[in-house]
């Protein structure tokens, strides 16, 4: 293939323009993340809080509007907000799974860049990309997921996988310059699950590229010591899922009504200037619209670090 100087010039121009645009939009997003930077604590949202909003890419515009409305500059974006669905009438689960894999391996040109621009334009930065890896993923597919969400600006992939799947993920985050976030639940009867301190330490020991995404609701329900865990392992914690529950597998509650030490945790992050992102995530019930409920819970957190 031969290339004229004019062609080369065009290529450089386009490349520089695209890079300039991405850099500019990235700067805009960074500034926007500061929208929810309160007294040194970076807040964000796990959009699961919008219980009434199905997590599908067709609703991404509404999601972004709500995030802005709630004053959030950072988000943990579930893959379903980005990827197409192939499940439908007449499509078997395995066929849909195969089509999704194919899509991940060969996404439309510029697809992730376009999604990134939507978020950047609204001033929302993707902190992490939530995806539950399992045995159905091929190695190429795992790489493709990291490649895609890196374009979105994500710093890591988070999921609710157990220890067995985590072992398989060890080689991947390092080569993409990202981390894998381990998300704990509260099933103490499952030895493969991340639910108590011992299981989480086991997971973190698998790779220096593994970080905890400590869920305060689940850890409290599993009778864990959130404050103690944060004090001891803060350098391996990328973020918190901030929510409240009662101990002993208790129910979810509005912030401040359960046993999760939300105020103490947020103040520890603030006072120690730890780069740990606090992502609000709750599932307590409310009769109010979810956007209002997020406002109220966010207000609780803001007052905690005021």
């Amino acid at each position: 293939m031969t290339m004229s100087r004019r062609d080369f010039g065009k290529l450089v121009f386009v490349g520089v323009s695209e890079a300039t645009l991405l850099l500019a939009s990235a700067r805009a997003a960074r500034a926007a993340a500061n929208r929810s930077l309160i007294n040194g604590v970076q807040f964000g949202l796990q959009p699961f809080c919008y219980h009434d909003l199905p997590m599908i890419r067709e609703n991404r515009g509404e999601l972004i509007r709500r995030l802005v409305r709630n004053g959030m500059g950072m988000v943990e974006l579930h893959a379903t907000w980005v990827e197409p669905r192939f499940i439908g009438p007449g499509v078997s689960a395995s066929a849909a799974r195969d089509q999704l894999r194919e899509w991940r391996l060969h996404p439309p040109a510029g697809y992730y860049q376009a999604v990134r621009r939507e978020l950047d334009t609204a001033g929302v930065e993707v902190f992490t990309y939530y995806i539950n890896f399992d045995d159905s993923f091929t190695d190429r597919e795992i790489d493709a997921v990291f490649d895609g969400c890196k374009v979105l600006g994500a710093r890591g992939c988070v999921g609710s996988m157990g220890q067995a799947i985590s072992k398989r993920l060890v080689p991947f985050p390092g080569k993409h310059g990202m981390f894998v976030g381990l998300h704990n639940h509260d099933n103490l009867s499952d030895s493969d699950a991340y639910s108590n301190e011992a299981s989480m330490v086991t997971g973190l020991s698998m790779s220096p590229d593994f970080r905890m995404m400590l869920d305060t609701r689940h850890f409290t329900a599993a009778d864990g010591d959130c404050v103690g865990f944060l004090a001891k392992h803060h350098d391996r914690i990328a973020g918190l899922h901030v929510g409240d529950r009662r101990k002993h597998n208790g129910r979810s509650t509005p912030f401040g009504e359960g046993d999760a030490p939300i105020i103490e945790l947020l103040r520890m992050i603030r006072d120690n200037r730890w780069p740990i992102v606090a992502l609000l995530e709750f599932e307590h019930g409310t009769l109010r619209p979810e956007v209002e409920e997020v406002d109220l819970m966010f207000d609780y957190c803001k007052r905690a670090v005021a």
């Binding site: 009434d52 099933n187 019930g285 409310t286 979810e290 209002e292």
Partner: protein
């Protein structure tokens, strides 16, 4: 001083407005998620409790579960629960030992009252959901023997097929019977609707309709689908050489049993329209009806119509004995005479699959009660009878008709093939009087439903029908009408 007072008033007003604004924020109610407020405050409170404690986000407000949450709509444990006997302890304990990612939390801190509210909503939503689920779609053909077995086990303590349910197979078509069985408003059926399976429903319906003959050997009533005259008008019915129509009781008893049991078909028999108001002029009667309120588009459609059979539009008087053409000789029936019985007697002949309306004139009207739907309008040739389906509500027959030929409706109304006319046939307690209430609806034509009633008297017991003969190709039938000499 005045200025100070004005300022104080202004500040007080502003404070009141601010307080109201603050209150409004805290009163926000997520109607989109919670749905409309229920008329029963206890149930509404139960629903809100179900949401407030987070149950709805996993199990779904209407029990359509999300993610890995248990499907409460079909859970066997919920089906066996009686007033919280099983759900209550489970809520208190939670389910810590599970293969799921997140165990079911425990709700030990809730009061008994709150637990009861959660249980109340779960059962209510389950009954509503399963009722919808089980009554959607056509009724499958079931196994009557299996249906009897289920009936004996679950229903026979309250019901007897030859007692309170006698004749129910004629009263309801399969779909209506299914709906009546599962109706959640009947409290004693709550357990049934929460637990019965779709196959059991089909089996029981088949059992209750077991006497229904197959289509191939079912006695038909076509012998009465010709025409009738009532004896009050015709005198001796046997003089025409026609055989008398077989009395009802001589037909197969599974077709209909007049006068027996619960008088399911009190409508059966002949009826004559009463018109005392009009003293013989139907216009006199209908002039007392409320006029139809039409939409602008509906009013624009109305146009003067004349009888399509009238071939002598100048309406000039004719001398006695002067022949003239008074009809085009059509053998069909047009106009509202099919839907609204005129001065001729008409007979109602109920059977399992249809109610037949026959009159002193050509044609008959078939009103289908076998649960079928109307065919698409594109498949209906508009006519004076249209296409009618009906259900029974007690002894009342509720008819719905579409597919009528475009034309005028009594009391200033209008109809097109899309227009629905609902009819309620109601027999008075004395069994001798019938009222048919017509209600016309069509959003394109009527600003509100257009309704009126006609009353009828029962034809004497020995009334019967003459055959109506019509040959549209016969010139005599069309033209040789010689009006009799008028009374002087």
């Amino acid at each position: 001083m005045t200025r100070v007072l004005t300022s104080i008033c202004f500040i007080a007003f502003a404070a009141a407005v601010a307080a109201q604004s603050t209150t409004a924020v805290h009163r926000s109610y997520d109607t989109a998620f919670l749905g409309p407020v229920l008329p029963d405050p206890v149930l509404q409170h139960a629903k809100e409790t179900f949401v407030l404690f987070g149950c709805a986000y996993c199990h779904g407000l209407d029990l359509v579960s999300r993610g890995e949450a248990t499907d409460l709509m079909h859970s066997a444990l919920v089906g066996r629960d009686e007033n919280g006997s099983r759900i209550g302890p489970l809520l208190r304990m939670g389910i810590p030992q599970t293969a799921k990612l997140s165990p079911m939390p425990q709700f030990s801190d809730l009061s008994d009252h709150q637990i009861n509210d959660l249980v109340r909503w779960i059962h209510y939503a389950r009954q509503q959901g399963r009722y919808r689920e089980l009554t959607t779609g056509p009724v499958k053909t079931g196994d009557a023997a299996a249906g009897k077995s289920y009936f004996d086990r679950a229903c026979s303590s309250c019901h007897k097929v030859d007692g309170d349910l006698s004749g129910i197979d004629r009263k309801y078509d399969a779909a209506a019977l299914r709906a009546a069985m599962l109706e959640p408003k009947q409290e004693r059926h709550h357990t049934i609707v929460e637990n019965i399976g779709a196959d059991d429903v089909a089996n029981v319906v088949s059992y209750l309709r077991r006497g229904r003959a197959s289509a191939s050997n079912r006695p038909t009533v076509t012998t009465v689908s010709t025409s009738f005259a009532n004896v009050a008008k015709t005198g001796d019915p046997n003089g025409d050489g026609l055989a008398r129509w077989a009395p009802f009781t001589s037909l197969a008893p599974q077709v209909f049993e007049p006068g027996k049991g619960s008088d399911t078909h009190r409508l059966e028999g002949g009826w004559v329209r009463l018109d005392t108001t009009g003293s013989g002029s139907f216009g006199g009667l209908t002039s007392s009806f409320a006029r139809a309120v039409l939409t602008p588009a509906g009013a624009a459609r109305v146009k003067p119509q004349r009888d399509p059979d009238d071939v002598d539009p100048d309406n000039k008087p004719h001398k006695a004995g002067e022949p003239y053409i008074v009809t085009q000789g059509r053998c069909g029936v047009g106009g509202p005479g099919v839907i609204e019985p005129n001065s001729a007697a008409f007979f109602i002949v109920p059977s399992r699959d249809e109610v037949l309306l026959v009159r002193e004139g050509p044609g008959g009207r078939h009103i289908y009660t076998d649960g079928r739907d109307h065919p698409p309008l594109s498949r209906i040739v508009p006519s004076g009878a249209g296409h009618s389906t009906a259900t029974w509500e007690g002894d009342d027959l509720l008819v719905d008709t579409i597919g009528l030929a475009e034309g005028a409706v009594t009391a200033g109304g209008w109809r097109t093939p899309e227009t629905h006319v609902a009819e309620r046939y109601h027999v008075a307690e004395d069994g001798m009087h019938l009222r048919i209430t017509f209600t016309w609806t069509d959003p394109k034509i009527y600003a509100r439903p257009h309704s009126y009633s006609f009353d009828f008297e029962r034809v004497p017991a020995d009334g019967y029908a003459f055959e109506n003969w019509c040959d549209s190709g016969d010139p005599l039938q069309r033209q040789s009408v010689v009006p009799p000499e008028q009374l002087k």
